[in-house]
Assembly symmetry: C2
Homo-oligomer: 492 residues x 2
């Protein structure tokens, strides 16, 4: 049905919020409802029997507000409901989850973040979970599987036709960061020896083509991938031509065991909408679409940002205190050990400090500025590794550049602090020690800021994880040692 221009225009003039306002409205509705419900419940508890009629009236109001909430909620796109659930504290989130239409539950579970998914699944029984999973295509069931109880997976598996069972088994066998985990099985396949007209007729038999179908895949009898037929090529060519004559070599062929971030880089570089996935024998097994890549990149970038601070995984902001504690304690414990070592370094020089207490006041400057400078270096190096701009081979040039930047920073800011220290304590030697210590600690920061991620990449580890804690450990202990060591040499 055509939409009237007026309708479209009015909806556009209001606000380009892509559903943000609808979400805010439902949140308001939810809170109003919870308030009404809470009031009604209080009343029922306190109401003497003769006022029951009033309380029944209140009951009608509660029912009405609930119905309104439910209706507005289920008018939303499942992706919008997912994003609404993300923003709600646990109690409100679970209240709303109960009101969601059963046939949307599966899709919403796929859309929400890991942390929120866990909270939703924990309220559902086996039957509900099986029903929710069964509304999904196999690749999405596989994505949910790690969070589902085994008996749910078994039940779902039993209910699938043979071919889809195989798909599910295949999809579940891949790690999160493999192409196989992003793959779906909705690719459209055609043979090279049919005419474009036949392809057109074949496509018309679909009620709806799978989403993000920008090309169909040309395969032989053994399902070996021969080429791709972009829909655009199909559209601009004569219907009599054969598929084999107009098909193109695929710009990218992914392997199911490949790393997903290489696939993401290929999508970005070649501006793809979909790409075929084959096994090592060249047999077409599925396809990856750009919407999955978009989700992957967004999630991955988030993990990188969190990893710097030593947070292991996506933590739900409204997660329980206990869960948050578990996510954070390891790197705090590591930090405690490194801080303890730094403390022992200071303790070695306690006589020096006892002789000149100004040292105790100045030493955190040396350590702190070094830590900040090191954090800048390590953040940039980690980022460049992620972008593939550097490899462990151009190490020498990086070291040279970072050391020079630090030397410059050290001399300038060290010089400034040296003058300040001289003015404060009227001690020229102290000022000199300050300049030297700051410069040396910033050089150490640069050196370790390049070395730490390099070593971790060589070892095949994530260079970002806890990088902020590690670099600070070096610049604290190192800074105290350099500063107090120099002070012991030159000031006592």
């Amino acid at each position: 049905m055509p939409i009237l221009p007026e309708e479209l225009r009015s909806s556009k003039n209001e606000a380009p919020d892509h559903g943000q306002r609808a979400l805010a409205e439902i949140t308001a509705l939810l809170r109003r409802h919870l308030l009404i419900e809470g009031l009604a419940r209080e009343q029922i508890e306190e109401t003497p029997l003769d006022e029951l009629q009033t309380s029944l009236l209140e009951g009608v109001t509660v029912q009405h507000s609930l119905a309104e909430l439910r209706e507005q909620l289920n008018a939303l796109h499942p992706a919008d409901i997912a994003s609404l659930l993300e923003t709600l504290p646990l109690n409100e989130r679970l209240y709303l989850w109960d009101l969601v239409r059963a046939d949307h539950e599966g899709e919403i579970l796929v859309e929400v973040s890991d942390a929120v998914r866990g909270s939703l699944i924990s309220t559902m029984d086996t039957e509900e979970l099986v029903a929710a999973a069964e509304t999904l295509p196999t690749d999405e069931i596989a994505a949910l599987a790690p969070d589902l109880p085994q008996e749910v997976i078994d039940d779902v598996f039993e209910g699938l036709p043979i071919e889809e069972r195989e798909h599910l088994r295949a999809a579940m066998s891949f790690e999160d960061d493999m192409v196989g985990a992003l793959m779906d099985f909705e690719e459209v396949q055609v043979r090279p020896d049919v005419s474009l007209e036949v392809v057109f007729r074949y496509l018309r038999r679909f009620d709806e083509l799978p989403t993000q179908t920008d090309q169909v895949f040309v395969v032989d009898r053994g399902e070996k991938l021969l080429g791709v037929l972009p829909i655009q090529v199909l559209l601009v060519n004569d219907e009599d031509k054969l598929v084999g004559d107009v098909m193109q070599p695929p710009p990218v062929v992914l392997l199911q065991h490949e790393k997903a971030d290489e696939a993401a880089a290929a999508f970005e570089r070649y501006d793809l909408v979909s790409a075929p996935v084959t096994d090592t024998n060249g047999k077409l097994v599925g396809r990856v679409t750009v919407d999955e890549i978009l989700d992957f990149i967004r999630e991955h970038a988030g993990e990188e940002a969190l990893a710097h601070a030593g947070l292991n995984e996506e933590e739900d902001v409204f997660a329980s205190v206990w869960k948050s504690f578990q996510n954070r304690w390891q790197w705090l414990a590591i930090n405690l050990v490194t801080a303890f070592i730094a403390s022992r370094v200071i303790d070695v020089f306690s006589n020096t400090i006892a002789g000149l207490v100004a040292l105790a006041a100045l030493m955190p400057i040396v350590a702190g500025v070094g830590g900040n400078s090191g954090n800048q270096t390590i953040t940039m190096i980690v980022r460049s590794f992620a972008l593939g701009q550097i490899t462990t081979e151009n190490a020498r040039q990086l070291f040279r550049k970072e050391l020079l930047v630090s030397l410059l920073n050290g001399l300038i800011w060290g010089g400034v602090m040296g003058v300040v220290a001289f003015l404060l304590y009227h001690d020229l030697a102290l000022g000199g020690v300050m300049v030297l210590a700051m410069t040396l600690n910033m050089l150490l920061a640069a050196f370790m800021g390049v070395l730490i991620p390099m070593i971790r990449v060589k070892l095949g580890r994530d260079p970002a994880l806890g990088s902020s804690v590690l670099i600070t450990a070096c610049t604290d202990s190192g800074g105290f040692f350099i500063f107090l060591g120099l002070a012991t040499l030159f000031l006592t």
Copy 2:
């Protein structure tokens, strides 16, 4: 032309590297060539006249190696050349840039990062730049424009037909983070009163449809957007039907002045390949495609990671020392000021420290662990703001949760360090002060870790920028004050 299955298979079995190997080969070739060239030059300088013949032979080798390099380089996809240039140090990068085919230069300039683009443009004269820009569609010229000298822009502008001049002027008027900056003008428009057959015929007249065309846009005579006609709908419907009868309301309509990250969220949420862009009157002005969104998200995520450490913009890892210094000095200077304040806090308590030097050794533990804990909190809060999971409205719950997590961490780790301090210094009161100070400083860290990004969001600023420096400032000065203050109260 059909590709033989054998060809496809052999290319697939080798390595699923999506051009990585080709890039490595060219890098090797480049380095070999530079070596040969260097040797040849040395020889010419040192060669007596009678050995000129040999040296000429060497010259042939140089020419040959150069030709090979040039050929292999220009066989690459421009996006691959761009990514190759990113990984090379400045001298090698510029050497290679000289060898790139002129008609690829424009596309490569669009693909590389801001920092690398600057280095490439600085070697080109006006004429070369104009030639490069003229190979591009207007939306990409606009993307380059901020890095081009004004006279280049003027020249390019003069060379454009009237309609494209308007497009360029429009595209250049948007900020980097607006939808208008991501928009292109290659949308295909149709009228509602024509049949699908007419649309088919219209599409066949294109040699090639614009990339990522998953839908055509239905407009009236005034170019007002009436709806969209997905190619998939076009394919599965009868050719006799009218566009107006099968067109759909667009799932998302973007406005040109909207924030690009809202557009990105809409693409992610609704799995879009393209979306129409209108002005405030509903007139279709362009479209945004998912490849632009992919680039935007990738860049944006990088900026967020860098912002934490107080790096203002994407810094080329091989940038000059001076440029790197400029990018980093501001936050280092801020850090210097905050470290100085922390130092003054310590100085206030110099008598307490003189009385008990152990305090000087223990105080960095209190400050350091608080800083790390605060960094975890602020990183998570900033991340959640970016994902739209929290708003300044759910502040109370967040404060409550973060304070509880910190209380738990503070009591546990503070307790551990209290015992350690007692064992080291045989001073029960010192142990008690340690527990109390660590707990209080971690509570401060949690409070500021939520408050700082909240305030910045309220002020409309980027919550990530320098967040690591700011939180450390609080936990350092705060930690020293709390610890030394408690020590003064209870230990002297």
